[in-house]
Symmetry: C2
Subunit: 409 residues, 2 copies
């Protein structure tokens, strides 16, 4: 099936080299033909690492591998394949991870436990690990500092455009860079998605501080987004610090000197998360949902996600219908404190419903115009407290059915 590029696609930014990272992609023929499907990153000696993974109770073998390997807080390489998720593949799946890591470790000259592995694609089919390990030496020999775009393309599955972002920040006066790539387009829900994301910085940051930064950043980005409410078995976000930049020493607990870095990282994570939503399967509109006035921030987030996950809200948006009644329904189904008679709903900045009823004589013209656009803004005020949260989603269209009703065929 030929996938058309999402109308919400953004252009790949320029991705300059990042000291301590060499990467690239190759055609290993694992599942796809005539496209790259195997990606490798080699990281400088001394690189620290942190990761956040799916909450799915049936995770793929690569997730288990990375969770265990990350205990050391160090990484020298990442191997990623697209086309086969290596999930629910039993013992052979675990063996495939070990064989991949061993092959990469030999090429790089490091312990196997310093190799991270990730896989994305079909669940339940045995990974052709022989093809993968056969392709690794050639891939390794061709790694370069300029391979970011190739890597971003090589990890795609149903993605229609490659996803990357880069930022700079200062630590103790010295400039450092953060660059990340991501893939994902369906099976996207909070606590992540069939979403892989690999980020590197040339800063020198101890693993515990790196871990804290990543967890906080993912909470405000990937975990506030949803395409279809389905939570993948493979979601993985890995963050590496190569330590090649010159700046004052960062303590293990991180702290205030990382404030600027944390802000840049948060911004980069949100950029990548929204690129994933922009490539949501079949998406034609990017939807932002702001909830205010909830009893708590946690309650606000649940309400925002209930709206973001509602098929009826999402199909209404696809139909360019500002159907605030369905928004009220979705708020109510969240099961969180809500008082129908204090609830207000706005679309495109126009309050259509307030205090439990339609706003008499509100001007529908700007709302109709807003609904025809590519970016839709929904606001819900509960009128109960100070809890607020934001979620992002996309519309639900025929394209989603097309893609997912015939994915394996």
């Amino acid at each position: 099936m030929e996938l058309q590029i999402s109308p919400l696609a953004v252009t790949l930014p320029a991705l300059p080299p990042l000291a301590g990272v060499r990467l690239g992609a190759v055609e290993a023929g694992i599942r796809y033909r005539n496209r790259t499907d195997l990606v490798m990153l080699e990281l400088a000696a001394g690189t620290t690492a942190a990761g956040v993974f799916t909450t799915n109770r049936c995770p793929g073998a690569p997730v288990d591998w990375c969770r265990a390997a990350l205990k050391g807080g160090r990484a020298r390489a990442v191997v990623v394949n697209a086309g086969n998720a290596n999930v629910f593949t039993g013992r052979v799946g675990r063996d495939a991870c070990a064989a991949t890591a061993a092959a990469a470790a030999e090429l790089v000259g490091c312990p196997a436990k310093q190799v991270m592995v990730a896989s994305t694609g079909v669940i339940g089919e045995v990974l052709a690990v022989d093809r993968l390990t056969a392709a690794l030496p050639g891939l390794h020999a061709a790694l370069s500092e300029d391979g970011w775009e190739a890597a971003a393309r090589g990890i795609m599955t149903t993605d229609t455009f490659p996803k990357a972002a880069t930022r700079t920040a200062r630590i103790g006066g010295a400039e450092v860079r953060i660059t990340g790539i991501a893939k994902g387009s369906g099976m996207i829900a909070p606590d992540m998605a069939t979403m892989l994301c690999f980020i590197a910085t040339d800063a020198k940051i101890p693993a515990p501080a790196l871990d804290a930064l990543l967890r906080r950043g993912v909470g405000g980005s990937f975990n506030c987004t949803t395409v279809d409410s389905d939570t993948s078995t493979s979601d993985t976000v890995l963050l590496f610090a190569t330590g090649q930049a010159k700046h004052p020493r960062v303590p293990a607990e991180g702290g205030r000197m990382l404030a600027g870095f944390a802000a840049a990282l948060d911004d980069l994570l949100l950029d990548l998360a929204l690129q994933v939503i922009r490539d949501g399967e079949g998406a034609t509109k990017l939807v932002r949902i702001d909830v205010t006035g909830a009893t708590t921030a946690r309650s606000a987030k649940r309400i925002a996600m209930a709206v973001a996950n509602s098929p009826l809200v999402k199909t209404a948006i696809a139909g360019e219908d500002a159907n605030w009644g369905r928004i009220v329904m979705a708020v109510g189904k969240a099961g969180e404190p809500a008082d129908r008679d204090r609830l207000s709903v706005a679309v495109g900045g126009v309050w259509m419903a307030k205090d439990g009823g339609v706003v008499p004589g509100y001007d529908e013209t700007p709302v109709v115009a807003h609904m025809k656009g590519r970016e839709i803004a929904i606001a819900v005020d509960l009128g109960l407290g100070r809890g607020k949260a934001t979620a992002w989603t996309c519309d639900l269209t025929h394209g989603y059915i097309d893609i997912n009703g015939s994915y394996r065929s």
Copy 2:
């Protein structure tokens, strides 16, 4: 938009009169043209009543009205309109319920609090209550014992076929009848749906016993079904006992003499719930999900509903793809205890995945044939305990997008 009749539609059964119920439908022109949209049931003096309603925190005004009115445990009439849900309509919505009940009460000769009201259709638009009350006297004058089919048709919205069921049971040796009608096709999720259901029996059952029977029955039927995970603001199931049949006195607490009646009621509720799923918006396949081996029954139900609500499972079924990998994903995303390496999945009775991996050399031929059928059976065994549950859903197709992307236009 012209809706085609669901390929899963079932034929309306013969609906004989039920002593103590007269009913009918009329064109009130509330929203639709050239079809009935207003239904009334008149119930014999002494009728007891019980109800179960949506868990949505933003319920419609009619739900509030019925909850309050049912405290008396008695009912003499029901008025239902289709086309406008009278939800999020503020004070005018509450006034509309009171005006409807008052008008019906005057016709029947009872207190307004013995009139139940229900509305289904668009949310957030003011109900044309004047048209409704203007049509009531003519409707009341034409009520008859033979009006069951007319009533089943008059409460439809996006439904493509009318839904009814009838059963007989014995109480203390005497035969009694139970007859019910239902509507619903989207916004269908556990703890009900845009689902209205009205059931009557000629048995004489005290209100507390009736309430207990209904709650138990709904738990095993409507609350185990889902079309799209969206929970309506209007869900209502009402059960009336007209007391016209001659049988020994039933105590307030019900008890063993109602065992046969309870079984017949449960069967009728499940029949109606599955008719709603068969009319799920865009549905082409009815899907049953049996979960066994969970740690508890509650856990099994959550897992079954996670599978039933997964857009990726539902689109795979639409594509006739026995994609058990997506079933594994959905089991894992439920957040309930699950051990990937003990998990087994069957489709159409064939175990495709067992003990954490694909079953080597399983015969795909019967599975492929099964997926082409109208009724799909999925079984999941967790291998952990004795908890089990069943859920029902339908597939997710282009038809769902068609219907919901243009509902208001």
